[in-house]
């Protein structure tokens, strides 16, 4: 750096400072070797597993798993409940629905700390997710089992799902759920070139989530989906990108057979009837969420009840022992479904609201309310988690969340 340089203006000075990067600032040889290895693997096997350099924490894995589970339920819920016609992005939704396979990268970037990167492959009801530490899971929804493999420890866990949700739509439908949110409330936000593709963007907001979908007008398929989830200290960014549709995916990629030589642990996941779950009315989902959250929070309720932000809060309150507790996990698994359903409240309910300032058992405090179709009175959930009906004049006068 020439410290005698006389700056012409702040831009020239800053530009020069960035341009004259000291020569010793370079990537490590190990980094280059690792990336070269990834590139070779990707080239040799188009859909091979891809690990990333980002360090992962357990809760992010849980978030990712629950996002998938919750998104599935949201998909069913929106398909069965949403009546609004498509208008802005219907071509994209249609194209995604026709896809036989899809893979994409999801980057989760918390407000503080490093990003985590997941790679996901969908083929019908099969899903493979590769995590930052190279561990991976294979979910076979039709076969009702999930394999979690940790190469670093040479261990594998085969989980038999308690229920066999064969009626669930393919996991790729979870993307459709996101797209359906966009078509309901999305607005055009212009164009952007992503990896050489000129895309058109649609932005939407639901709950505490702001999402922008960038689609390719030629193929009608999404190129990138960017979300800002939450608005407080636990908020995070989620970007889904590198979409590849309809590429052949080998069956071996979705094998639930543990690798040879690995120590195998078998477990059984609690039975959860997702189809029954999505038929529950909104207030019952809310009661489940509030009861679970309050149990972890000395009776306090969450600031918001919609989606991933809540998952992040919940997981931050859990400990390892709870994750090993079958009963706890059963409640948590069920809860993920309820949270998925809440994602679509904005699309399906005309008038609703939530205020989480009360504490559990404040029996006179209304925390959640909505107006059912063609009803005169609101359905409400009180802080003691009872349900009732009240006229409009008695609901809290706070902004809708």
């Amino acid at each position: 750096m020439n410290t005698n340089h006389t700056p012409l203006d702040p831009l020239d000075t800053a530009e020069a400072a960035l341009r004259e990067l000291p020569v010793h600032i370079t990537p490590s040889t190990a980094t280059l070797d690792r990336i070269a290895m990834l590139a070779m693997n990707a080239e040799a096997q188009p859909m091979t597993t891809i690990s990333t350099s980002s360090t992962g924490r357990g809760w992010r894995k849980i978030i990712a798993l629950l996002l998938t589970a919750a998104a599935s339920v949201a998909a069913i819920y929106s398909i069965t409940q949403t009546t609004q016609p498509s208008f802005a992005f219907e071509d994209v939704v249609s194209a995604v629905k026709k896809a036989d396979t899809v893979s994409y990268t999801t980057v989760i970037t918390p407000k503080t700390g490093p990003a985590s990167q997941l790679k996901t492959y969908h083929k019908g009801t099969l899903t493979r997710t590769v995590y930052p530490d190279s561990s991976y899971s294979v979910m076979d929804m039709a076969g009702a089992k999930m394999l979690m493999v940790q190469p670093a420890m040479k261990t594998a866990t085969l989980t038999l799902l308690g229920s066999k949700p064969t009626d669930l739509p393919p996991m790729g439908e979870s993307i459709v759920a996101w797209l359906k949110s966009a078509e309901a409330t999305g607005k055009a936000v212009g164009e952007k070139t992503i990896d050489g593709v000129r895309t058109r963007g649609f932005e939407t907001a639901f709950g505490a989530t702001t999402m922008t979908i960038w689609g390719d007008p030629q193929t009608k398929l999404p190129v990138q989906i960017e979300s800002t989830i939450g608005s407080d200290a636990t908020s995070f960014q989620m970007t889904m990108r590198d979409f590849i549709f309809n590429a052949p995916l080998e069956d071996a990629l979705f094998s639930t057979e543990p690798p040879a030589g690995y120590k195998v642990k078998k477990s059984a996941q609690p039975a959860v009837d997702y189809m029954a779950l999505v038929k529950l009315p909104p207030e019952e989902h809310v009661v489940k969420i509030l009861k679970f959250y309050a149990g972890l929070s000395d009776g306090a309720f969450p600031e918001r009840i919609d989606g991933p932000e809540l998952i992040a809060k919940l997981t931050s309150k859990m400990d390892e022992k709870q994750l090993e507790d079958p009963q706890f996990m059963k409640e948590f698994t069920t809860l993920a479904g309820s949270m998925g359903a809440t994602w679509t409240f904005r699309q399906t309910l005309q008038k609703f609201g939530y205020v989480g300032t009360a504490k559990l058992n404040d029996k006179d405090s209304i925390v959640f309310w909505y107006l059912p179709k063609d009803a005169e009175n609101y359905r409400v959930v009180y802080a003691d988690l009872t349900i009732g009906n009240v006229p409009e004049g008695k609901i809290p006068s706070v902004p809708m969340k």
Binding site: P10, T26, K192, E203, T210
Partner: protein, 173 residues
């Protein structure tokens, strides 16, 4: 494809392009990795004549996306205050001023259009000619020139009114 040779030969240039924009090695690592994997896909579709240019463009694009994410989500602007220039040992005050200006430039870049930011980063920061950038961006050189010119105008405006202690902004609530 000899990826080891490609990465050893051209990876550092692409990595440094990302580092310039983001100011830390971990993010630059991620951007180069993303660029390499995207390059694998691109190479399947068409022959690659200039790996260095391709990797640098892709890494820069990833870095700009991250920069945009960072400043449009209220992430901590202090993430930019890395000792990029520390090794050159200017006076402490000068270092602080330069750090601040670099931070302001990164914030301002996050508020440019994608095309302007890309053209500026490749031409102004990476030292590409307009013809080189035009080739990679598949746009006329004259367009690149206009993009860089407008980027500079906008950056000057943004930096002129920049807070001395830049606070990230959010584009939507």
């Amino acid at each position: 494809m000899d990826w080891k040779t490609i990465l050893e030969r051209d990876g550092p240039t692409a990595w440094r392009a990302a580092y310039r924009l983001l100011g830390n090695a971990a993010d630059a690592d991620d951007c180069l990795q993303d660029a390499a994997l995207a390059a694998v896909q691109l190479a399947r579709r068409e022959p690659v004549g200039n790996w260095r240019a391709l990797l640098t463009r892709l890494a820069s694009a990833r870095a700009l996306d991250r920069l945009r994410q960072r400043y449009r989500s209220r992430l901590d602007a202090s993430a930019d205050h890395h000792a990029v220039l520390a090794a050159d040992s200017p006076e402490p005050i000068e270092t602080a001023q330069l750090d601040e200006l670099q931070s302001q430039l990164r914030v301002a870049l996050a508020h440019l259009s994608h095309d302007q930011a890309t053209a500026f980063s490749l031409c102004a920061l990476e030292g590409w000619t307009q013809a080189e950038a035009a080739s990679q961006l598949q746009t006329p050189a004259s367009t690149v020139g206009v993009l860089v010119h407008r980027a500079r105008q906008r950056l000057r405006e943004l930096m002129q009114f920049a807070d001395p202690n830049p606070t990230p902004t959010r584009s939507h609530s």
